[in-house]
């Protein structure tokens, strides 16, 4: 017969405490090993919802399944195709980053990117005409996430744009992301000047087809493995992608060189990709999307499957609540500014790139990328603290993505809404900053967190789904 209570009465008690430290002190006085919780009350108004969610007998197993699926998901780069083909994106529909939004509430950078897409698609001849058409509602706006795609910053994808296609063979999922345009005045930051539109046309006519040839010849490329390696080379996969970009180029280069194209076009494509530190970001994002897609639709799970922003609202979705968005006003990042830009120039948080944090890299892997702190205005201890703090709000650790300086500990993975609400610790997101005014482009980069109300709304919905108020 096994002893009752898992042998509690036969073993030496080892304690964990939450509450008055006096009791922990009294235990230490008796030479008992005690781990004390640095306990704080949960976010306002969530106590009853938390009780219902924590009491949901499905939760622990559901979250374990979510973590298992997120870490098991594969991410193979298999193709590059126009969005009209890959996503079935019909003329007259544009995808955008973040939760659903309409033109009237759209921020400057999103408006700028939409205007740029109108010009690029030839649906308007001037920015003014584009704006008029958009404000009339001539174009259907839809979140990238609703088609299993992701877009950085404004995240605008129009039917003619080419997209990367990634596959998770384990769970039979596909995800897509636009091609990265480089830095500075680019569509994703809301710029739409002639140089932006010209570059987009070049990407469509030269870069996309070349990459398609290259990947069809060289592929599939295991993007998940590149992410695992880049974390060990000083990248975190969101604001820093240097190692990842070069590793990707290394994989593509042999088949690019022998592609059917002029050597001048090949040279320009290689130069463009190699010069762009964020070349890899647009493959890391759909890889992360495949990881979170695998966790969708697990009843009882409190794991976050989406964090995304449209420049006005921040939205999250959870494994246990399906397609429902929980939104709040997006915060404005804090960090460093380019040139003479300052805080007043920055737009509130924008982009689907927080998918990296949702999947356990980016801000969550900041300890792997101490160099990042120069870019976001912090110090090295901040990078270590950021990652270590995220373990407090995640279900577990990634099996493939590791942080050398933390003894190769897996990155914190699977944001648990209930842990966020209990601790008040909000997910740490590394991000770029777009100019507030349409057409400006990038003004800086920094750190941001979601608004707490996304999580207080989600816990209320999870409580309702748990069956008890």
């Amino acid at each position: 017969m096994t002893s009752p209570l898992h042998g509690l009465l036969a073993a030496d008690p080892v304690l964990a405490t939450a509450g008055a430290s006096m009791f922990a002190d009294a235990l230490r006085d008796q030479a008992v090993v005690v781990t004390e919780t640095d306990w704080q009350p949960p976010l306002d108004g969530t106590a009853a919802h938390l009780t219902a969610v924590l009491g949901d007998a499905r939760r622990a197993d559901a979250n374990a399944v979510a973590l298992q699926r997120m870490t098991a998901a594969g991410a193979d780069f298999v193709d590059v195709r126009p969005a009209s083909e890959a996503l079935g994106l019909e003329r007259g529909t544009f995808l955008h980053a973040g939760p659903p939004i309409e033109w009237d509430r759209a921020s400057g950078p999103l408006r700028g990117a939409l205007i740029g897409a109108m010009l690029f698609e030839g649906m308007a001849d001037t920015p003014e005409a584009a704006e008029a058409a958009l404000s009339r509602g001539d174009v259907e706006l839809e979140p990238c996430h609703h088609r299993d795609a992701v877009g950085p910053m404004a995240g605008v994808i129009s039917p003619s744009m080419w997209v990367y296609e990634l596959r998770d063979e384990v769970h039979d999922h596909t995800s897509w992301c636009s091609l990265n345009e480089g830095l500075g005045k680019v569509l994703r930051y809301g710029a739409y000047g002639p140089e932006v539109i010209d570059r987009l046309h070049w990407m469509n006519s030269v870069l996309g087809p070349l990459l398609q040839q290259a990947i069809r010849a060289a592929g599939p490329i295991d993007v998940k493995s590149i992410i695992a390696q880049m974390l060990q080379m000083g990248d975190e996969g969101h604001n820093r992608n240097r190692a990842g970009s070069l590793m990707l180029l290394r994989e593509l280069l042999p088949s690019l060189i022998v592609a059917e194209a002029s050597s001048a076009d090949i040279a320009e494509a290689v130069r463009f990709s190699g010069a762009n530190e964020h070349f890899f970001l647009n493959l890391g994002m759909p890889a992360c999307k495949l990881s979170t897609l695998a966790a969708e639709g697990i009843a009882g799970s409190t794991v976050v499957t989406t964090m995304a922003r449209n420049g006005t609202d921040f939205g999250i979705r959870t494994a246990g609540t399906g397609a429902q968005w929980f939104t709040g006003p997006a915060n404005t990042p804090e960090g460093l500014f380019l040139g003479s830009y300052g805080p007043d120039d920055a737009n509130p948080d924008i982009g689907d790139s927080a998918i990296t944090e949702t999947a356990g890299i980016g801000g969550f892997a900041m300890a792997a990328a101490p160099a990042i702190v120069r870019f976001v205005g912090g110090d090295v201890p901040l990078a270590l603290r950021a990652t270590r703090t995220m373990y407090e709000i995640t279900v577990g650790e990634h099996t493939a993505y590791q942080v050398p300086i933390l003894e190769f500990r897996g990155t914190p993975t699977g944001i648990d809404v209930s842990a966020v609400v209990r601790t008040g610790i909000l997910p740490q997101i590394n991000t770029g900053m777009a100019g507030r005014v349409a057409g400006t482009g990038q003004v800086g980069a920094g750190l941001v967190t979601p608004p707490a109300e996304c999580f207080t709304q989600a816990i209320a919905a999870l409580a309702a789904a748990a069956g008890t108020p």
Binding site: M1, A10, P13, A16, A18, G19, W39, D44, A419
Partner: protein, 521 residues
């Protein structure tokens, strides 16, 4: 005098820590009075009672700082003391920087995982306690749930979730446990020995342990189950598990179940269950017509063939011995028993013992609903108050740690001409006030002097629960109390009977042998 009042949002501290902070601020030069507390209803009442006007819209998780000082300089020194005290509270974990230690765990589940704990202790405010308990249960460890103010539906769900994983929920409102020699919460230092205790009563368990210790008998484990476990709603869920665990435990020879008055059917079912365990189970379950705790422990000793000792007591050392009840010179005295308790079960027992002689006793934890006291806790009648009850601890430390409210009432009874005898408890052990004797002795002395200046003699009796091993020094505490003029008894039942004997002025119309649960007098 200059008053300073401020509200700080987003700064949570537990009530015990804030009590210490309040004392440090109150002790700063030029400060006359200070209260630093979370803005719970009770604490706001206290602050309003000090004459401060608290702004509307303050939330329970806001920190309120109230300082009354001689002048602006006093306020400044109080605020400096406040910042110093708050800074000292911040845990080492949150101060760690650089490449040092990881931040301290922020949820109990993570603390269990990080420390590989096999037992969790929860003492967060009641409205948050269920969540923490679930977190520990999910990690597969038993929980001592010290917190009170936990809804009974939550208790039932927690206990069912735990039983499904073969772990134990001790509580909620479980003040006392001893697991494999380790004292949790409020617990006395006892030798390890053959007696296993299951306790639906913290101070009841402490009383039993103190008596066993005085009889030279040690304890294997004392498993608290929470004061409501033997209610009809909870149905003895944890008691059943605890009995089974002790029955399987090699170091336990015999078991005592200690409880506040249980539901009759629950008790009957448990007695039947215990009969099949193969180990002797004795019942120290309070109720009308049932033995008091002392009598139950005596019966247990007799059943084991052990001698029943004379329970220790310490007579009052005072020129006017309270055992000589009424000072003939003054003649006048109050007619009513006033019992001011920190221990709920000790208060229950006192009401049962005294009620058998006095009839119904008014209380905030009444034995019958019609005996309930109003919110002001006052009545010209026999009154027993449990200062450890949920209603008086919301957002405040337990009176065994923070005696302020009870000491105020002791003083009030000193000048209340209707108070005929004062019955107090004092519980020692881990978790309790580090040296509660001197403060209580001062209060007793003050009340007796106030009574005397009011032309009456006020006898005081103290029920002192403690063991020889307790950190507070049982003998010294008893000596301090008896020097202040109190008659001190280790047995709570004995203390109550002594108090009754001192109420000898009792007019015939107040004497009754009716049901202590109420009824006509």
């Amino acid at each position: 005098m200059t008053d300073h009042l401020e509200v700080r949002s987003g700064a949570y501290y537990d009530s015990v820590s804030l009590m210490q902070v309040s004392r440090q601020v109150a002790g700063a030069p030029g400060v006359a009075a200070a209260q630093v507390a979370m803005a719970t209803e009770l604490n706001l009442d206290v602050i309003a009672g000090m004459g401060f006007s608290v702004p509307a819209g303050v939330q329970p998780n806001d920190l309120v700082v109230a300082i009354r000082a001689e002048d602006e300089n006093g306020v400044a020194s109080g605020l400096t003391a406040l910042e110093t005290a708050l800074a000292a509270l911040r845990s080492a974990g949150s101060q760690a920087g650089g490449f040092g230690e990881a931040p301290a765990p922020r949820t109990l589940g993570r603390a269990v995982a990080v420390g590989a704990a096999n037992l969790a202790l929860v003492s967060v405010p009641g409205q948050y306690a269920t969540v923490e308990a679930y977190d520990a249960i999910d990690r597969g460890v038993s929980v001592m749930l010290f917190s009170d103010n936990v809804p009974v539906e939550d208790e039932v769900r927690l206990k069912d979730a735990a039983a499904a994983r073969d772990i134990l929920v001790m509580g909620p409102d479980c003040g006392t446990a001893v697991v494999a020699g380790v004292a949790l919460g409020f617990a006395n230092v006892v030798e390890r020995g053959p007696v296993g205790i299951v306790a639906a009563s913290g101070t009841g368990a402490q009383q039993a342990m103190a008596l066993l210790d005085a009889a030279g008998l040690g304890v294997s484990h004392c498993l608290g189950v929470g004061g409501r476990d033997l209610s009809a709603t909870v149905g003895g869920r944890s008691t059943r598990q605890a009995l089974a665990a002790l029955a399987a435990d090699e170091s336990t020879e015999a078991i005592i179940v200690v409880s506040k008055p249980p539901a009759a059917q629950v008790l009957a079912d448990l007695e039947a269950y215990a009969g099949e365990l193969g180990k002797p189970v004795h019942w120290a379950t309070l109720g009308t017509g049932r033995p008091d705790l002392t009598a139950a422990v005596e019966a247990f000793l007799e059943a084991r063939g052990q001698a029943v000792p004379t329970w220790p007591s310490w007579p009052a050392h005072d020129s006017r011995d309270p055992l000589d009840p009424l000072d003939a010179a003054t003649g006048a005295s109050g007619r009513y028993l006033r019992g001011l308790f920190c221990g709920g079960t000790l208060a229950d027992e006192a009401m049962l013992v005294a009620g058998a002689q006095l009839g119904g006793i008014r209380s905030n934890i009444p034995l019958a609903p019609e005996l309930a006291l109003d919110a002001d806790l006052r009545a010209d009648d026999h009154v027993v108050i449990d200062f450890g009850d949920d209603g008086l601890t919301r957002g405040r430390a337990h009176p065994m740690i923070d005696p302020t409210l009870r000491l105020e009432r002791v003083a009030a009874e000193g000048s209340d001409p209707t108070c005929g005898v004062l019955l107090l408890d004092l519980v020692l052990g881990h978790g309790a006030h580090p040296d509660p004797g001197p403060e209580l002795a001062d209060a007793i002395r003050g009340a007796r002097e106030a009574a005397r200046s009011g032309g009456r003699e006020l006898p005081v009796v103290v029920s002192l629960t403690g063991t020889r091993g307790d950190p507070q020094d049982l003998a010294a505490t008893a000596a301090a109390l008896s020097a202040a003029g109190a008659s001190v008894h280790l047995s709570n039942a004995e203390a109550t009977r002594t108090a009754l004997s001192l109420l000898s002025d009792l007019p015939a119309d107040l004497l009754s042998d009716t049901d202590p649960l109420g009824g006509p007098r």
